[in-house]
Symmetry: C2
Subunit: 682 residues, 2 copies
């Protein structure tokens, strides 16, 4: 469910300031923005005497969250808080923060996550119906700390909050590039900090089978390159997630995407004597389980019987995507089976497979979920449809809306494919429902959404910077009111949230320097930072086109890996050019000049380190950028029309700059062009 | 084994260039430096066709190391190596790198780690007696990659190598601050990269019991704050270490350092009705197991019977340190027991305890090891003595030498206490044997050394920067010839090794920026970097003196935590001042002026971010540094004697700068003073 999809870009439809978004969002950096919020002039001062009490001390989610809260509060403010652990609420002894909840809840789809929070200059009070609501409140609190020169404090705020959608997920593909437990755990921490509640674990694919099976040990022994989770590690991750109020939905992708399974058990394949092997490239491949072989079902039944107890959640994802059934068509026995069973197409055959799978899963008390290909006319509405295709994929109607109308519960991922490396704006603008009119029943079937992180082009070194901070903005889309749509305001809040995610343990900011130090062979990286702040990695899988085709073991320590979506200097420069060209304001003009100056000077710093194969490829980019910047700066500073010679020179160089370099694109090219046109015409 | 020790600082004794150190160490950045090395003018070019073969493909240590080698080689050079995995050596098909070894060895003390390595322009060849020798060779290879502008290559080198000492360890204390599995694993990777082979896991102390016990579950449930390793995690870590050729020696510290154990099982304590609880402070405390109670031995026997199968190594560390026996003396029954058993002192009583413990461990096929307090006259020489005290501790003779002479096997840690935050020079200068004359038998008893990382003042965020890169230099002391002692040369090589350790996954470099971003509240950190490059955290535990006393849950996200030993700008500045004052050379003068200019300008950048409680404390430091720098710069630039007024002003400010700020010291103060004296006297 990931090739050739073209995102519907709603830019312009939603980005005007929406009056109903509470204007306190200019003042506070909460994300997701709460449903109801008001503030007062009071502040609660944070001192060494800060204390926390909870309605029950039970080693449960809230005690853990409150302890973590104390560590983060202390770590962030530098205050030596005397009491390092929460106590039980005691009416005779007031604490700084009092957290109460009505009951301990299981981490399920329907759990109540609402909470209220009130901060006065005397106390912080949290109340929730469930312990999970209480930990959501604690996440809110951690976004509220404020400081001045001498004190740290919580602003006086009252919040009443609850999520818009029940299902707020992040999928991580650990098949194409394995991600160790530590990567998963830090991402779970990050998810909880922005109130996400489903971790969808894409555990198997053509490139690897990533979980230990005692029943079928060849799966992890022969089809993982030794990179898999032991069952104990899986339990550990599920416990970790549960404590954060996050459900874990595993995915075993069948019948397609099965190269790894068939590497271990080729006898279950649809093509006889086919040399199945772990796939090293990215793409859609033909190896497919044989749905006409009873051994396939016996295998899946045994495997799922072994695996499902590890995952307490009632949903179980079977993939089901991107199977054209090429090997089915080529196999005479399978063709005969289709005829005998009145299955006209390969889709019908896959539905036959899916229905048998659903029976197996139901016996194991699991609900089947699959990518939207499983939504065929004969598929029972008990299945949950994971919508990854929309109108952009050539469908008449988004598969999400279609599913809801047909009676399926459904979750949206179309529009939330963060591995495509588009700007956060694009994803933020995608609303699961939008302006579609639905009945109450239909609306209730739309459970929520899921961010998808496919891992063809990421490793543990880079994955955080591909997921975050953009996912925090999508988390807001899933939690907050539909009316919260102001892009500028979101960007302002996201910037702070991004730093707080680093504080939490994510590597999305710090690993940029690691990669650049590697690229520079341990020399000064400042000039590389300057370049990486205006370059973005090629988008929508085009990095895998052209000259290079990446394998799973190709190097992901290149300049493109240090660059990210939403290159910060590019955003700022582009905004100032647009503003300057519109209003000729001097502030923007000076900002533009200072950027151009930076890029001119940067070439000398860059040349000083330029002595290896990895920096070599950036030489031309750096010097061309300097050339254009000199011309533009001259025009701007002297406020004159450029000479024809200069304009032509700059124009030619800009043409060159449009070409990708080292799998990145220079994302200021349009505004360089606009500026040149303006200065050439003056 | 950690309080009040004062390191013997050998500086000046060893730091002259030793002629026997191979001068190729100026050319290559190997660490530890090999026993024998020669080079040629040939180079082996690294291309996409690079291949690796091994004498056996067995999913063992070498196959893993070779695969990891390919990933690192590709990641570092950016070369898309076509074949991602090693193959079996095939005489008809030559590979780029051929690795052969005679046998697969167990990871034990006596294992042969020698190897030979030969690089020509045609091939890289490794041979070793054991698979462990082979992986040591691969670690060497990864320090040899070189590049110019367009190619990456291995230089033509021949090495024949073997370690000087059998025991080359790193101890990590996970009791005072718990360190998750991911921290341990990345440190194991780092250890292997510099050929260390013992991970000593200090699992219990007053501040926590960090391992799951099914036999005595209160230990991890009541005495760890939920921060412990499950037995499965322990197995995982031991497997991980074994694959890297690293032994794991667990330590269960008894009978002292027992607050955590006694929190869970107070009935085993030496003081009746004492309210034992997990210790939150650092220090030496009185809670002690009762050595006169048979239940104590039953408990330890059961616990060790449960725990020892997790640790295949034959050595088992029982701590045994820092017990003054205060609670023993205060307990009448214990005093009576001593009298009845003819035990005159508490030391005798502890030896009684140790001997009973040794019996228990021997029955479990383990050899007892303990800190040097266990070396009493009646202690059998079957025990291994871990020497942490030397002449600096008031002993007449280093406990290491004493132990070796008395017939004990012994390991040195005195001099390798990296948590004291001294310069790498100090540790590098400590030789386990030095000039002491020993018989062959005595020499053979000196197994090697161990770096100790006590964790009172470190968290997962900072621990790497406290261990590395200094430990790499100590690893060289343990592996390389005694004659390898050139400090300047070591520093040159260590700088590169440090970056390679980051490439490997360590956080010692990148987390500095994380802490400074936190301190600056997400503003520009460049001025804080400048200050952190001349400030070092207070040394030898003095951070815990004075105003603050740190608890285990105090914030370790302060300026001192971003600073490290061997502050880089300070080293450079101090060297240039010394050089300038000696020879009045202009290069050094210009360097000094540029540092002074940096510090003058830095104050303005610093003031621009100065708006919170954490930066506030650095205000004075920044502005005083500016004041002194202005005066000194004036004197240097104009080559004149300073006015009396200027000299007095600067002198006063330097006095102020001598005082610790935010738990750090400005380590350029001596050279500022020297420079001022010089300029005042001109």
């Amino acid at each position: 469910m990931k090739k050739n999809i073209f995102l519907i870009i709603f830019i312009g439809l939603f980005n005007q300031y929406t009056i109903s978004q509470n204007n306190l969002s200019e003042k506070y950096n909460l994300m997701p923005w709460p449903q109801e919020i008001s503030d007062s002039s009071e502040n609660f001062l944070i001192t060494t005497e800060f204390t926390v009490s909870i309605s029950s001390i039970d080693k449960g989610k809230v005690e853990h969250a409150a302890t973590t809260f104390l560590r983060r509060l202390s770590g962030r403010t530098g205050i030596f808080i005397n009491k390092g652990f929460p106590s039980k609420i005691n009416n005779t002894k007031k604490t700084s923060l009092e957290i109460s909840f009505d009951k301990i809840a299981s981490v399920t789809l329907e759990v109540d996550e609402s909470y209220t929070l009130k901060i006065t200059n005397k106390q912080l009070k949290v109340h929730a119906k469930t312990d999970i609501g209480a930990i959501r409140a604690i996440a809110t609190l951690l976004q509220l700390t404020t400081n001045n020169k001498t004190t740290s404090y919580f602003p006086g705020i009252t919040i009443s909050d609850a999520p818009r959608f029940l299902w707020r997920g992040l999928m991580i593909d650990v098949a194409r590039h394995f991600q160790p437990v530590s990567v998963i755990k830090r991402n779970l921490d990050a998810m909880a900090s922005v109130k996400m509640n489903v971790f969808h674990w894409h555990l198997t694919d053509d490139q690897g089978f990533r979980i230990e099976s005692n029943r079928y040990p060849k799966l992890h022994l022969l089809a993982s390159d030794g990179l898999f989770y032991t069952q104990n590690q899986v339990k550990d991750v599920v416990n970790y997630a549960t404590r954060l109020g996050i459900r874990v939905v595993p995915e075993f992708d069948v019948p397609g995407h099965a190269s790894a399974i068939l590497t271990a058990y080729p006898e279950l394949g649809s093509k006889k004597d086919y040399a199945y092997s772990i796939e090293r490239y990215a793409g859609v491949f033909n190896p497919t389980l044989n749905p006409t072989n009873d051994k396939t079902y016996a295998f899946l039944k045994n495997l799922f019987t072994e695996i499902t107890p590890l995952f307490p959640d009632e949903y179980f994802h079977i993939g089901g995507d991107e199977n054209a059934g090429k090997h089915w068509t080529e196999n005479k026995e399978i063709s005969a089976f289709k005829k005998n069973h009145g299955l006209n197409t390969n889709h019908d055959l896959q539905t036959y497979f899916n229905i048998r799978l659903e029976k197996i899963l139901n016996d194991l008390h699991k609900k089947l979920m699959g990518w939207d290909e499983i939504m065929t006319p004969t598929m029972p509405t008990t299945a949950v449809i994971h919508s990854w295709r929309g109108k952009n994929e050539g469908l008449k109607e988004s598969s999400l809306i279609k599913a809801a109308k047909k009676g399926y519960k459904t979750v949206l991922s179309n529009g939330y494919y963060i591995d495509r490396l588009l700007s956060v704006k694009n994803h933020y603008n995608v609303d699961p429902i939008g302006d579609v009119v639905l009945t109450k029943k239909e609306r209730a079937r739309i459970l929520g959404g899921e961010v998808t992180m496919w891992s063809e082009l990421v490793t543990p070194l880079t994955i955080d910077s591909r997921i975050w901070p953009r996912t925090a903005a999508i988390a807001e889309r899933f939690w907050s009111s539909k009316s919260v749509t102001d892009i500028k305001n979101m960007q302002k809040r996201l910037k702070i949230v991004s730093f707080q995610l680093e504080e939490l343990g994510l590597t999305h900011l710090k690993n940029k320097a690691v990669i650049l130090r590697n690229i520079s062979q341990y020399q000064d990286i400042s000039s590389l930072i300057v370049l990486s702040n205006i370059c973005e990695p090629l988008k929508i899988y085009s990095r895998n086109k052209g000259g290079t085709e990446y394998k799973s073991f190709s190097p992901f320590t290149l300049f493109a890996d240090a660059c990210t979506a939403d290159a910060p200097d590019a955003i700022s420069f582009n905004e100032h050019v647009i503003s300057y060209l519109k209003t000729a304001n001097n502030t923007s003009k000076q900002k533009i000049i200072s950027f151009l100056t930076k890029w001119i000077e940067n070439d000398a710093s860059f040349k000083a380190i330029n002595n290896n194969t990895k920096t070599h490829v950036l030489e031309k980019l750096s010097s061309q950028l300097k050339t254009v910047s000199i011309v533009l700066k001259k025009g701007l500073q002297h406020n004159t029309t450029l000479s024809k010679k200069d304009a032509i020179k700059a124009s030619k160089v800009i043409q060159e700059l449009k070409k990708p370099v080292a799998d990145t694109e220079l994302v200021i090219v349009s505004q360089l062009t606009a500026l040149l046109q303006h200065l050439g015409m003056k």
